[in-house]
Amino acid sequence: MIDLHKLAAMLQELDDQMVTCMKCGMCQAVCPVFRETLREADVTRGKIALLENLAHEMVADAHGVQEKLNKCLLCGSCQANCPSGVTVIDIFIKARIIVNSYLGLPAAKKVIFKGMLTRPRLFNALVAMGEKFQGLFSRPADELLGSSCSKVMSPLIGDRHFLPLAEKPLRMRVPELNTPAGRSGLKVAFFPGCVIDKMLPRIGEAVLKVLDYHGVGVYLPPAQACCGIPAVSSGDSESFEKLVRLNARAFARGEFDYLVTACATCTATIKEIWPKFMDAYPPGVQTMVRKLADKTMDINQFLVDRVGVRSQPAPTGGRRVTYHDPCHLKKSLGVSAQPRTLLQANPAFNFVEMNEADQCCGNGGTFNLQHYAVSKKIGDRKRGNILASKAEVVATGCPACMMQMTDMLSQHGDRVQVCHPVEIYAQALK
């Protein structure tokens, strides 16, 4: 039996933050989940009301509240538009930690987070093994997109078209780096993140190529771990803390001006979520985390704002490329012009805006696993906008969004490629 009283007491910590919600309902206008389900419990206002009720023991069904709380992309659209300035993401993540740690994580997540993500070596070994065996279970789905689908009925995968594990993860192609600053006078640490490392190493290679071209020194430590977002957003603060410390230690050894990533989610996590949950760490670790967070920057932003990459005049008859704004890049970090500049810096491409470019693609990390039907509806809307732009390539600054868009496009056999802006820019460099 769960002790509701205790759970309520823990949630009351969030009272001061939750009370600022004036129940105006304006979040309905921007919430991608609400747009598909039209259910009040799926939008911020409803979730906050439920959490308040749980905190004040006005609702008995804690599992029901947990389910609603987890039905959220953590895209931050509501927070960016909330007139009252409610710190939604902070509330939701803290509430997930409290509620999920109290009611327990689903078994599958426990295995993934506690057993795998927090042990990078084991994780890497498992992935390497997985790569060898994936042919048994999956088959190529779309050559252009490089996607696969399941050969056998699998409840985990369903009819998804996914990106297969890379033959050689980035980490194996480039185990470590420590090059001095070149003519730019700048040196960066590079944090590839799991998806780039294991599924899209070509993005990591493009990043390294671009940095090298501009004379930027690179520090790539041998042992780095996942940024921890899957764990913390599922409420597993223990695994999250382990990952943060692992990373903090890995990067503490290098000297660099910025820590760059090519994953919007990683950047937002390191910059905004790491420092929020470090109260329990020893002071030394806190300093390291704070320093890293301050230095972290998205690769598009780094290249345009620091290195000075500029757009080129559009060619006649270039390839049409459009851009999807990852929530974590635009809504959390305010980066949206720079990736577009980067796309326009390759003179072989014509940039076109799509409608609703800053609408969430519906991936939301673990949301995609738990609520695939809703995730897919949101993704299909994105697909519609991509197709309507008549682009041959859709670029985006987050590998998780790339996976989602690949799935949506591949399932329909659309002839649209999915790329990272830095890949497109890298192609322009000799």
């Binding site: 129940k23 206008a29 439920l50 029901g64």
Partner: protein, 460 residues
């Protein structure tokens, strides 16, 4: 709460997935945007077709179940707070725009269409739907009609009621009642459509609404006038109207609102000003240019210390940003924001604002006032923390006194936010016992069991 057989009937009508019974689902329909105590309904039901809508209403009536229609739940008067043993009828899946007729200038819509989406669709047809409540990004047209919502353009273009040509609604027995027409003129029978406007769901459940459209203005010009004296600002409002200029928008922000807006936006607002007026004229380009010039000179003559006219779209947006920031800026100051809706004849605005500030001072409360000066509709916004029960009692006291003053100045309890639960007890003060008796008789005649949104407007 309901028998299994009855629940089965609801499910048979709208489908299993559209009957929400779990506690966590029901709790999300216990409140709206008013600062009132929530009431958890027994069930929420979400019809997706007109036919289902009518059947749900009939089933409720047959079984004596109180029914509260709900759009987006953004009303500020408790209009969608349900009954404990009742159901909430969700209208937001009934969101089809059935017809936009560009030739005859009307549109037919279902009640769950979101106002801003409708306005955007209409604009794509080269037409204009003027009512623009601050909540339009989420509010539904059904909710707008039921509340007779107004907006920033009320002065020149009127409010929702001025655009309702017809409402087809289900009576409590689930019969479809048709009213109004698609013609500009129509005097056939009683004006039942007009009766539905501002009825807050107590007289019927809207099924289809016919709305009037107008051609869009070709040009517009926005201006900001700064005053060191709020009386001068109000005199300016009267002077503009007296000069036979009807701006589409004429807004006032008082000193505390300006300060909070500046704190929040750092846009360089004149924080020492006692009031600013934001004015926009629209129409034919030549007329706009002439009127704008006149407005500027009227403002100066009436004592504005500074008048700025937007030179382009970017500057115009900047001016309106200040207005749009009013509520967010105030809302961020303290945990709870009590947004009121006192409305007085234009000439009484200075008296009303003075009274509001005195009342706030007396009760040691912080208040910012902004609103639609052009139509006398003010939004005194009290900043507080509802968890502090002592403070909140003072807030309630202050609100009562604000309404007293509004009525004594020949004003009204609500310019646009409706009566709902929040102001039902006040109704007799503004109207009369006979008015309420007439309304009650009407309600009893069309809804003898008191099924439709009980407790709202005329009380229980």
């Amino acid at each position: 709460m309901f028998s299994n057989a009855l629940i089965k009937e609801f499910k048979a009508i709208v489908g299993k997935q559209n009957v929400l019974q779990k506690e966590a689902d029901r709790q999300a329909y216990a409140y709206d945007a008013a600062v009132l105590d929530p009431v958890v309904p027994a069930m929420a039901v979400c019809p997706t077709t007109s036919e289902e809508l009518g059947k749900v209403v009939r089933l409720c009536n047959e079984n004596g179940i109180p029914l509260t229609p709900r759009g987006s739940g953004t009303n500020l008067s408790g209009g969608t707070i349900p009954e404990k043993k009742g159901i909430v009828l969700l209208t937001n899946a009934l969101n089809k725009i059935i017809e936009i007729n560009a030739q005859d200038l009307y549109a037919v819509i279902q009640p769950g269409v979101v106002t801003a989406q409708f306005a955007a669709e209409v604009a794509r047809h080269g037409l204009f739907y003027p009512p623009d409540p601050g909540s339009m990004a989420v509010s539904t047209l059904g909710g707008n009609v039921a509340e007779n919502a107004g907006g920033l353009r009320g002065l020149k273009y009127g409010v929702t009621k001025d655009y309702v040509m017809g409402v087809d609604f289900f009576d409590v027995t689930g019969e479809l009642v048709k009213s109004g027409s698609r013609t500009v003129k129509c005097v056939t029978g009683l004006n039942l459509s007009a009766l539905q406007v501002a009825s807050e769901g107590i007289l019927g459940v809207f099924n289809e609404i016919v709305l009037k459209l107008v051609p869009p203005p070709a040009a517009n010009k926005a201006m900001m006038a700064v005053f060191d004296d709020i009386d001068k600002a109000s005199e300016t409002v009267a002077a503009i109207i007296a000069a036979h200029i009807v701006p589409c928008t004429l807004e006032i922000l008082d000193n505390s609102t300006i300060k909070y807006v500046e704190d929040y936006t750092r846009a360089g607002m004149p924080v020492t000003a006692q009031a600013i007026l934001l004015i926009e004229v629209d129409g034919h380009p030549a007329q706009v240019a002439e009127e704008a010039e006149k407005v500027v000179s009227i403002c100066k003559t009436a004592g504005a210390v500074d008048v700025q006219a937007a030179r382009d779209e970017a500057e115009r947006n900047k001016l309106w940003e200040a207005r749009r920031a009013a509520l967010p800026a105030l809302a961020r100051a303290r945990p709870t924001t009590v947004l009121e809706d006192a409305t007085v004849p234009r000439s009484q605005i200075p008296a009303m604002i003075r009274a509001i500030n005195e009342i706030a001072k007396k009760h040691r409360l912080e208040v910012g006032t902004f609103g639609h000066a052009g139509d006398g509709n003010l939004h005194p916004t009290i900043l507080c923390d509802k968890r502090d029960t002592r403070e909140f009692e003072r807030v309630e006291q202050a609100v009562d006194e604000i309404f007293d003053v509004a009525l004594s100045l020949k004003g009204t309890l609500s310019g646009e936010h409706g009566i709902g639960l929040a102001k039902a007890k006040w109704l007799e003060k503004e109207t009369s016992a006979a008015t309420i008796a007439y309304a009650r008789a009407l309600k009893t005649a069309v809804d003898p069991k008191g099924i439709l949104n009980p407790g709202k407007i005329i009380g229980g």
